[in-house]
Amino acid sequence: MRRYSKTLVFFLSLWPIYVISYQIIFNQLGPEPVDRIINHFGEWTLIFILLTLSMTPLKKITKSLEWIKFRRMLGLFTFFYASIHMLSYVGLDYRFDFEPLINDVFKKKFVFIGFSAWLLLIPLAVTSSERMVRLLKQNWKKIHRLIYIIGIFGVLHYIWLSKTIFFKPLIFLIILVILLLFRIKITRSASKI
């Protein structure tokens, strides 16, 4: 069973793709299909950031190392969904018309911070391989702490683009804060030792 757990997580992580494919094929995208696609992948990007950030706390809580082996895959899925999210905004909504897009990036803080979060994901995706871990040694850990900033940027992106924080953006914020508080606790108790 344990041998197949990674494969299982892989296929489960494709869930957002199954859902959107079903909605496209059966014409279920609703009155604003482009918006639906963008929001769908945006939300799933946030969910995958939170899932990635959950693995270390789960390891501590369950005292099982199992969780850590999913972390890289979930992180890469985060990058995958973030890229589809951005591409659908650039391609489907703005049809690669870069003038208004560049305008958006600099004028709208939610686009700016969302785009920044995606840029920050790139070095993490590039240095995700086993070889890079060995090559970068201590620096690898430092680079990958960027995920905390990416998480904060991602949730801020959601809060800023919503007309009101109620309720989904608020829920994401609360979960993110809990997951980040875990880190503070962990490093504190570690420094005491």
């Binding site: 009155p31 604003e32 918006d35 696609i37 208004p100 305008n103 803080k109 007309k163 009101t164 309720f167």
Partner: protein, 301 residues
């Protein structure tokens, strides 16, 4: 009757002619939306003027009293009670009045009015409303010389309206117009759509619709109309004064901090449909631009 000079919406009279023609050949109202092209001259008929489907108009709503997602209003408003319903007109008037919905529908005849609804979020619909000019209703009272603005108050009923149990906005929903805006013939009291009674999720039993302003200006489920001296603070202004101004005229040249207002997406179009350019005053400039002559619309957004 209102004239639609350069506004891109199919003029009411053509729509009506078309309708009677369709009726005469025995087709139902549902085929209306697809029947636009052959009957109107080319400059008037374009994708953006096609009537939005009844389904989209009644299932894709921003009505935070019933929840913040677009599908919430349809889901959560079906058992909302709209009878009995009274509307008071008060404030800076000589004699305040109270009218029941029955009295209002007896006093004023609703006609079909096809207007484009442009949401501040950057999408639009074309809706065949049923209604009459607000000025007719307001003429039932005599405002004092202090009256400068008109305030609209929506119903407050958290027992029936789930969304009002949370501080999403400062309830009850509040909106306002300058008196000359309120008296403009395009400012409509809506009682129905697609020839039917107004559905709950669209603001039953009675709402305001102001075609040249972003959708949130058009308050739903009105219970009170108040003449006031000072500019009212609307619910959205109260929530975020930097983002929502009192006027909130559709203006492609003034961007909202979050949404570009230069283009819009048409509801009901497919995945591959492009955005279209947003028109100044939502296409009603010929009728309403004079209301704002000499005003800096960037400052008075």
């Amino acid at each position: 009757m209102i004239k639609f000079k350069n506004s891109e919406i199919t003029p009411e009279n053509i729509y009506k002619k078309r309708r009677s023609f369709i009726k005469s050949i025995g087709l139902g109202a549902s085929t209306l939306a697809m029947s636009t092209i052959p009957f109107v001259n080319k400059s008037l008929a374009s994708e953006r003027d096609k009537l939005t489907s009844y389904k989209d108009i009644t299932t894709y709503n921003n009505y935070y009293e019933f929840g913040t997602s677009k599908s919430d209003p349809y889901r959560n408003s079906q058992i909302f009670k709209t009878t009995p319903w009274d509307i008071t007109i008060e404030g800076e008037v000589e004699k305040p009045i109270k009218l029941s919905m029955e009295e209002i529908s007896e006093m004023f005849i609703s006609e079909e009015r096809i207007y484009r609804l442009r949401c501040v979020e950057g999408w639009s619909m074309v809706i065949p409303w049923m209604g009459f000019s607000l000025s007719n209703l307001l003429s039932k009272v005599n405002p004092t010389n202090k009256a400068k603005f008109v305030e609209f108050e929506s119903v407050y009923d958290p027992a029936q309206m789930k969304g009002q149990r949370y501080p999403v906005l400062n309830w009850p929903y509040n909106e306002g117009l300058r008196i000359d805006e309120a008296m403009h013939p395009l400012t409509t009291v809506v009682t129905g759509l697609y020839g039917k009674k107004l559905p709950n999720q669209n603001g039953a039993p009675l709402r305001i619709f102001i075609p040249w302003k972003y959708g949130f200006k058009s308050a739903k489920a009105i219970v009170k109309i108040k003449f006031v001296e000072n500019m009212p603070t609307s619910s959205w202004m109260w929530a975020s004064p930097r983002e929502y101004g009192f006027y909130s005229n559709v203006n492609p040249n003034v961007d909202h901090p979050r949404w570009s207002q230069s283009t819009e997406r048409i509801i009901g179009e497919g995945v591959w449909a492009p955005r279209v350019k947003t028109l100044m005053f939502n296409g009603y400039g010929d009728e309403v631009a004079s209301l704002y002559s000499g005003m800096d619309l960037k400052k008075n957004f």
